[in-house]
Symmetry: D2
């Protein structure tokens, strides 16, 4: 799929006259697993079904790891975490449809009671939304791209970090803080918002930087171009920090490490299931 | 000049071998007027000089209104207000160079002591930065485009407004507040920032919405696409509000009026004079 | 009634065996006036009733101005504004009970459907909560004390004020801003909160200072002792500002005026009608 | 020393005609140790000197643990951390004078170049400021009182906590967040401020509650009475949290633990060395 200049793109995938293939992943709790079982039973006769190996053991089916699924889309039953984890496991993410099992999430679109009806519609085709991700490298090693955000955060809650951020070679900020959040527009309504960041429409091609508990009254959230090349370095020796990606992947870093952040060439993809636009979601989920 | 999709563009204007024409505008205070006089005397022999009529009377020169200047660029001596007022007077704004007479401004780039040296350089050519503006209509009537921001604000400090904002036909927010700021990226470091908005890199193609004293704990700043079509309406009768553009133009509105805001096809233009990038300016001027 | 050192005090007023006297004030809208009429009819036989002159004309009763009422308590039918206006009219405020006609208010305690039941209870006695007010003087002239807040605010929305605040003779802050809010603990959940102030338990003996749209990233809300002596002065000539008390009283000020703010010796008084404490109210009314 | 109702008290300690006893503690860095050595040499002839055992080894003197010092006051050479650690080691804290070795701190009052001159003055007597501390118990076990703040914070940066806070038996808030800060007025300019809390004058008798990255747009800082009895509990099993006191002491907690927080009967004590009041310090250190 071609790289897109903007933060979001969408395309229609027609499935008419074709054999549809659906993958399933799930959070490991009884309700979620039961819903997967029900959906597999219901749609098994009409689609080729693949079930993630972790899930398949629990419900007594043959499984296949997400990494090897060649599905048209993947149904994720659980919360935003389930989706983010699944995306992290795929090199070129297959479109995901999130069924919401009780958590407040911006990525899960469908309530469990609407799951069957929604899937019925998708058998004929569906709209795919692409969302730009962040590409992160640690001393040259590529880490999994971030759909929501990458966070640099102190490893010991009592100790502030000292770090500096350059963008395209220019110093953006030198800061003492618990940490710093680098979020996509998509992630602006997740952790970045808790730390005081603005709500960014996912169509805005931008990266949002939000300091976490900065020891400096003038520190503010930043919104910079989506194609910025960001470099982050700890400026004091002896402090331990963590790099956390989408709340899923974690790595230790010290002042000898260099973190770079930029736009990932490969977006995350979501099956569009609800008619609600972004503003509607914000009103429903956040206020 | 062609319309640009992004919030900022730049181009090089070469003046080699051509007769250069420089316009002058000024804040009405002795220091500013004196500097204009000095610059006119210094550069008169080498350039065609036009002086704004308000200023010319004070310093005893023939004047010409800004509206009729066909200069290569205009030198504005004063503060951000002087620049914004000058832009409002031009249909298709000529590039402006701001000499900073003591105010903290993001639009004024050059210190008075550097004025002569800077102008010397510009005689051979200069870089022009284009900055997207907001187009505002009130019941269909076009108001002057905003370089920094357009604000909807209560006309009586004791009374909150009730209003709603739709973007592209979708309801973004219904709010009780003193008002709402709609800022360009350029304006994000002006009034929008005082009201709690994020710092937006001028290269981000976006409009920033910042509520002023919202009576709702969950109200937050928004960043939406630069090509959004915004509609604002008061939802309760009997309240008087003001629409203020760049702190310069003011109009009364009531619940019978409809305000629309979008991207102006004609940008503001600035002569690039300092090597400092945006991040450098933020550090120097804001912390 | 003795002055109280703390921000809040309470005392029980027993009415057993005594002829009770109830005053009524109302917002000027049909629903509110109808409710006053109903309550007057209902409790007329059992209490001495006084009706504010403005209201009495509308519902065809003999009236008496609030200023001359010698009631045990006053029933205010309307919103927070109705209560604040009534308090402003009394030299030594009689306890007020607020019936909430549709506005979100922290001072109105009783829903209209509970009005009769609540008044029945009060015939035998009631708890009175005292709330500290702010005493404001303008060039030595005493203005009405503030129950919620006194605000210094720019008279022209386009122009920032420059002002300085000293507390007990020490400079607290010099600021460019739209204005500054000086709130009681009681007022911390009103305008001060919209401008970003903290929620202050009314039992905390404090004054809250919240800047309105400060042009300075490091400006923050302050909480200072309740017995502080505050002096506010505009520091630049030529700017027009307003002093607004409880959103009800307004005065023009210039750089030649001195505003002083301190604790008023005479508190506001409220009839305690709901069992809900302050935290319960915040949860119900603000989230 | 008697317990004080207010957040701050002060008293004058006269030393005229008495043998003065001075304790020394230090941060473990060459500059700090060198300054201790210099001060010990200088004041040894005129005062009884006690040096903390950790320090004494480094500079070749006989030492005595802080816990056993019966000094008139203790000189702490280092930063706020050095002071906080020293206070934690004393049951009934001796007054401390902080010499500031390069960190931005609100508790360190004296610059190294002024150390000798300041100590000369103190030989005759000094003013002591008392600052209320927070008493913290974990399942009934008393932890060291907090001079600045006690923080409940997630032990794994990727996972939000779910917790509830009751004050005097009333539910104040139920929250999903990284954590919550409970600060004294003294601590309002430390970690609480980084997380967005107000500046609280140390004379205000209050506890400040500031949520850290709350996943709820309406969450706000609270200011509650200084004598409040606070109870904090995690509401979801399986999450690990930390209780961190003054950035010095750390304990693991789970949903089976109950944390209570209230006013400590024993205050922290500081030797008043600078004439600058609190507002002056805020201006110097924070903007």
């Amino acid at each position: 799929m071609p790289q897109m200049a903007s933060s979001t793109g969408s395309s229609w995938i027609s499935l008419e006259g074709m054999g549809i293939r659906i993958g399933f992943v799930s959070r490991n709790d009884p309700d979620s697993l039961r819903l997967v079982e029900k959906l597999v039973k219901r749609f098994g006769p009409r689609a080729e079904i693949m079930v993630d190996r972790d899930v398949s053991k629990q419900i007594g089916l043959a499984g296949r790891p997400v990494e090897e699924m060649d599905a048209d889309f993947i149904v994720s039953v659980g919360g935003d975490g389930t989706i983010l984890r699944t995306i992290h496991r795929m090199k070129d993410p297959i479109p995901i449809l999130g069924i919401n099992m009780g958590t407040v999430g911006f990525l899960v679109d469908v309530e469990p009671t609407d799951a069957v009806k929604t899937l019925e519609h998708l058998l004929f085709g569906f709209e795919v939304d692409e969302r730009t991700r962040l590409e992160i490298s640690l001393d040259g090693e590529m880490l999994p791209p971030a759909t929501n955000e990458v966070v640099l955060i102190t490893a010991s809650p009592a100790k502030l970090l000292d770090f500096q951020i350059t963008v395209g070679g220019s110093l953006l900020e030198r800061l003492r803080a618990d940490g710093m959040i680098f979020a996509t527009s998509t992630g602006s309504t997740a952790y970045a918002m808790s730390a005081g960041g603005p709500i960014v429409d996912p169509r805005v091609d931008a990266i949002v930087l939000v300091p976490v508990a900065p020891f400096k009254l003038s520190a503010r959230p930043w919104v910079i171009p989506g194609d910025s090349e960001i470099k982050v370095e700890l400026t004091l020796p002896g402090k331990e920090a963590l790099v956390v990606i989408d709340g899923q992947n974690m790595r230790n870093v010290t002042d000898r490490d260099v973190i770079t952040i930029g736009r990932s060439p490969i977006p995350a993809r979501f099956v569009r299931a609800s008619r609600d636009g972004f503003y509607e979601k914000v009103k429903t989920k956040l206020s």
